[in-house]
């Protein structure tokens, strides 16, 4: 247990802060621990967490992806036309098409990064602009409401009516989220590919000399990110029942903040699924708590920003010399187990 805490120091700290927040909120409000609140918390953050675990894999492999939220929008749009051409489609075809489109967009990033040896932030900012510009140009900024029924029908995996008549339910997106989280955990912690991803992110040249296929690593990291972007976009439509080309614009930076807060290192080689979940939940519970405490919604973002700033400041104090950029060792010196 002690070694677990020592090797996951950022996760442990974040977990304690989160626990204190949960205790505080359940004492000060009587609605926080209500089943309906907890299920809506999960429903509202399912898509963010799907993207977060995808981004985690890219960060572990030493890259960064700015383009995934826009890529998810592209997937949504193209999928609408695919389903039309296929005469409707169903859930199985939906996952297949959205997953494949997402992987395709991710592989474009990987091919450019590996092919031209360009750092991932440059390429993904370029593809971010290219995807978003082309999407807005070809869609004309139009919303699409005319979607297949199966896609927008609400499916609940859990329903419960309390004595006072309040329904609490978990949507399908939560089940998909759980699947994505478990699959990502299996990929990075239970396969040789996962070990190679950590090694590659920590020291690309060292990994290459040790016989790691670096083209394959880039393809797997960005392909996985693309798969998660596609699935996340697919589930997002199920939740909001519309396709809006610029709805997801800007979400990438919020997800990035949550993932890095959870201990994934910009620069590669470090990060856990648990930290990722804690990072997303930290932002979600802060917002939820502010809401329940009756604070003006206009102040939410300000307080969340300040909370993240304080969290990163306190989690880095007493660690080693400052480090910047991808080349140098950034936060701390402990290795991912």
């Amino acid at each position: 247990m002690r070694s677990l805490v020592a090797s996951n120091r950022i996760e442990a700290r974040l977990g304690i802060v989160l626990l204190l927040m949960v205790i505080g909120l359940s004492l000060t409000t009587d609605t926080f621990l209500a089943l309906a609140n907890l299920t809506s918390l999960l429903n509202n953050n399912a898509v963010n967490l799907i993207w977060a675990v995808g981004l985690l894999v890219v960060l572990i492999a030493g890259g960064i992806d700015i383009s995934f939220a826009v890529a998810a929008s592209v997937v949504q749009y193209v999928a609408v036309y695919c389903f039309e051409a296929l005469g409707g489609g169903n859930w199985f075809i939906g996952f297949l098409i959205c997953g494949a489109l997402g992987i395709g967009l991710g592989l474009i990033n990987a091919a450019l990064i590996h092919g031209f040896r360009i750092i991932s932030i440059v390429i993904t900012i370029a593809t971010f602009n290219a995807y978003f510009g082309l999407l807005m140009f070809f869609s004309g900024g139009r919303f699409i409401y005319d979607l297949p029924d199966w896609w927008t029908d609400r499916i609940f995996i859990f329903e419960h009516q309390s004595a006072s008549g309040v329904w609490s339910e978990l949507s399908l997106a939560v089940a998909v989220m759980a699947g994505c989280v478990i699959a990502t955990w299996l990929l990075i912690r239970r396969t040789t590919i996962g070990r190679q991803l950590y090694a590659f992110g920590d020291n690309p040249e060292g990994a290459r000399r040790a016989g790691v296929n670096i083209a394959l690593m880039q393809a797997i990291a960005f392909g996985w990110m693309g798969l998660m972007a596609g699935i996340g976009g697919f589930m997002q439509v199920n939740i909001v029942k519309e396709v809006v080309p610029n709805a997801l614009y800007g979400r990438e930076l919020e997800v990035l903040a949550a993932v890095v807060l959870g201990g994934a290192r910009l620069g590669g080689g470090k990060g856990t699924v648990l930290g990722c979940i804690l990072g997303v939940m930290f932002v979600a519970i802060t917002q939820n708590g502010l809401n329940l405490l009756g604070i003006s919604p206009f102040a939410f973002q300000m307080i969340i920003g300040a909370a993240i700033l304080i969290a990163i400041s306190s989690s880095n104090i007493s660690l080693d010399l400052p480090g910047l950029g991808g080349r140098r060792v950034a936060l701390g010196t402990e290795r991912a187990p």
Binding site: F128, F137, L256, F298, I304, G305, L324, R327
Partner: protein, 327 residues
């Protein structure tokens, strides 16, 4: 010739050629491209993006990134607006404007200073610090304005946004002045030298006796100051201030820096190629606009253009190394 090349750097000539190519292509495609009206509107549109890019440039040179620039500019603009409003809005005297400008620059500098201190003394990653600052400042702005906009500024502010001196638009003069200042700062001052050293190897710089923490703090503070100037210019140009004005420019500034040959890892890069890159982006956008395309297509073309340039640089590098091997 070789001395000239050395002074300009390897990036400048190819970018000049590219700029010429873009201008020639659009001049042939539409007769309206090389008219005074189009060039004038380009000269008025470029400076806001240009100033914000200068704010992004030095943090990237130091191996970091400043993702908060847009909201630093917005909040500085808001500060100016509030000072002007409290002195009577459109009737406010010039003294109020000076006071507002000082307050705006102070706000920009303060937000930068906080980021710089956290990056330098706590050692957190600049992307994360500036991201948190961005979320905070956006929230602060939305909290104070309730998402609305503030307008109604005195008439003399129009001079900053729309006036000209001897036919050269004032915004362009401000931008060129700032770019020159940035060039001198990076090439001729002790701080500029420290920026390059911190960007290439912060540990070596530290052990060589450079005060790297002070350098980092100063980098983000100065970045905040130039954001404030961009924010004031935006307020003058649009005659209104709103949180979120110019949001779409955030990643374009990073794109312009990379296009201008700034090393994404930091340590290498110059101001002049970045200015040329900005001109290319503006020419692409204005030219496509004249041909009937909208801003979104320009955004896509910018992205594809960056990929193309990076690919060309890779090809040139391969070719050079092969030639060297043959010799």
């Amino acid at each position: 010739m070789i001395r000239l090349r050395k002074a300009l750097g390897v990036e400048t000539l190819p970018l000049l050629v590219m700029l010429a190519l873009v201008v020639v292509v659009f001049a042939l495609a539409t007769p309206r491209f090389l008219t005074a009206a189009n060039l004038g509107s380009m000269a008025v549109q470029l400076p806001v993006l240009g100033l914000l890019t200068l704010a992004m440039l030095v943090p990237i040179l130091s191996g970091g990134l400043n993702l908060a620039i847009i909201y630093q500019a917005n909040l500085s603009g808001l500060t100016l607006a509030w000072v002007l409003l409290s002195f009577g809005g459109s009737e406010a005297g010039f003294g109020a404007f000076v006071l507002g400008t000082v307050a705006a620059i102070a706000v920009g500098a303060l937000s930068g200073l906080i980021m710089g201190l956290v990056v330098a003394y706590i050692g957190a990653h600049p992307i994360l610090v500036s991201l948190a600052m961005m979320i905070f400042l956006r929230g602060l702005g939305e909290f104070m304005t309730r998402g609305g906009d503030i307008s109604g500024f005195p008439d003399y502010m129009r001079v900053i946004g729309h006036g000209d001196v001897l036919g050269v638009p004032v915004p362009l003069l401000i931008f060129l002045g700032a770019a020159l200042l940035w060039h001198v700062m990076l090439k001729r001052t002790r701080h500029g030298f420290s920026v390059y050293m911190v960007g290439s190897n912060i540990d070596a710089a530290e052990y060589s006796g450079l005060h790297t923490k002070r350098t980092l703090t100063l980098i983000y503070t100065i970045s905040g100051v130039i954001c404030a100037i961009a924010g004031i210019l935006m307020a003058a140009r649009f005659n209104s201030v709103r949180v979120g004005h110019g949001e779409a420019l955030l990643l374009v500034t990073v794109l312009a820096c990379f296009l201008g040959g700034i090393d994404p890892f930091g340590g290498f890069g110059k101001v002049l190629p970045v200015v040329l890159a900005l001109m290319i982006l503006q020419a692409l956008s204005s030219g496509l606009n004249l041909l009937g395309a909208n801003q979104h297509l320009s955004t896509a073309v910018w992205g594809l253009f960056l990929i193309g340039v990076m690919a060309l640089r890779w090809v040139a590098q391969q070719w050079n190394s092969r030639r060297r091997r043959e010799i």
